[in-house]
């Protein structure tokens, strides 16, 4: 793609990502909030595609479609006003948060602009980038890959363990107690 087209596409995606990210906290409808967040992620994914990290970009879109679906389910489950039919503002420590957000932005943007990063642009074509990523993942960075896999497995098990309603001694809702140390006999009240 020509540099002009890439730059204008980047400008559009960047502005869209930031604006939709901000709209997440401005909208009253909760389902719209999760889909504004999805829009922000999709725009960042498209910027990644423009940067020739295409596998990462499309993977971001794929993952976030599923993740925002889960987020929408939780929104409707837990928020008292999921459709935004009434306007409401549920914020606390608003001024402090705005100050913290602006400070974070200025600090990080300042570091990004002031620091002289080495100028070593990646020049491969996208297919070669993905091929290199694949070889790297299963070669030099195999330990990192395996650790990520183990972490995801631990997450799955942990998530189910934390939210499961059935334990070893019965369902969690019933105030289940573990069996006593000595076996129950006729006089035992347990």
């Amino acid at each position: 793609m020509t540099s002009w087209a890439v730059d204008s596409a980047f400008a559009v995606f960047a502005v869209a990502a930031v604006v939709t990210g901000f709209l997440v906290f401005r909208t009253d409808s909760m389902v719209r909030a999760s889909f504004w967040l999805l829009a922000s992620f999709v725009n960042v994914g498209l910027i990644l595609v423009l940067l020739n990290a295409r596998f990462l970009g499309f993977s971001v879109v794929l993952m976030m479609a599923g993740e925002m679906s889960v987020m929408a389910i939780f929104m409707v489950m837990l928020m008292m006003n999921p459709a935004g039919l009434n306007p409401m503002t549920m914020v606390h420590q608003h001024r402090a948060s705005v100050a913290a957000g602006v400070t974070a932005f200025l600090a990080l943007a300042g570091v990004g602009i002031v620091v002289d990063f080495p100028d070593d642009p990646a020049r491969q074509d996208p297919a070669q980038v993905t091929a290199e990523l694949g070889v790297e993942e299963l070669g030099d960075s195999m330990l990192v890959f395996q650790t990520a896999g183990a972490a995801l497995l631990a997450t799955m098990i942990g998530g189910i363990a934390v939210t499961s309603r059935r334990g070893r001694y019965g369902t969690a809702d019933e105030g289940s107690v573990p069996p006593p140390l000595d076996p129950p006999d006729a006089e035992s009240a347990l």
Partner: protein, 101 residues
């Protein structure tokens, strides 16, 4: 599409995420703020890979790890949120302010 512009955009996403994570009362909205922060971090990491690392695949590996972190944080965050609701019947932070014996 210079490195500076990309880092400014990433910083903006992080800033908005920090604002959201600190200001929102509902747990789900706090999670959204954290997701935005990680989003910004991912963009910054891949931007630095594209402009300062000569295309070394380890930069992309960092991107994959950040994506994994996103998934882990979302899953465990929702699990903890569900459990807090079951124990305390609280879906916003204000409801967990009181100590209950």
């Amino acid at each position: 599409m210079t490195l500076d512009a990309l880092l400014v955009v990433a910083a903006a996403l992080v800033g908005i995420g920090v604002y959201g994570a600190l200001s929102q009362q509902s747990f789900v909205m706090i999670m959204m703020g954290i997701e935005l922060i990680i989003n910004g971090a991912l963009l910054a990491a891949v931007a630095l890979w594209a402009y300062s690392s000569g295309g070394s695949p380890k930069g992309q590996m960092l991107g994959v790890v950040i994506l994994t972190v996103m998934a882990v944080e979302a899953a465990l965050g929702f699990a903890v949120m569900t459990n807090v609701y079951r124990v305390r019947k609280a879906d916003i932070t204000e409801k967990t302010k009181r100590l209950r014996g």
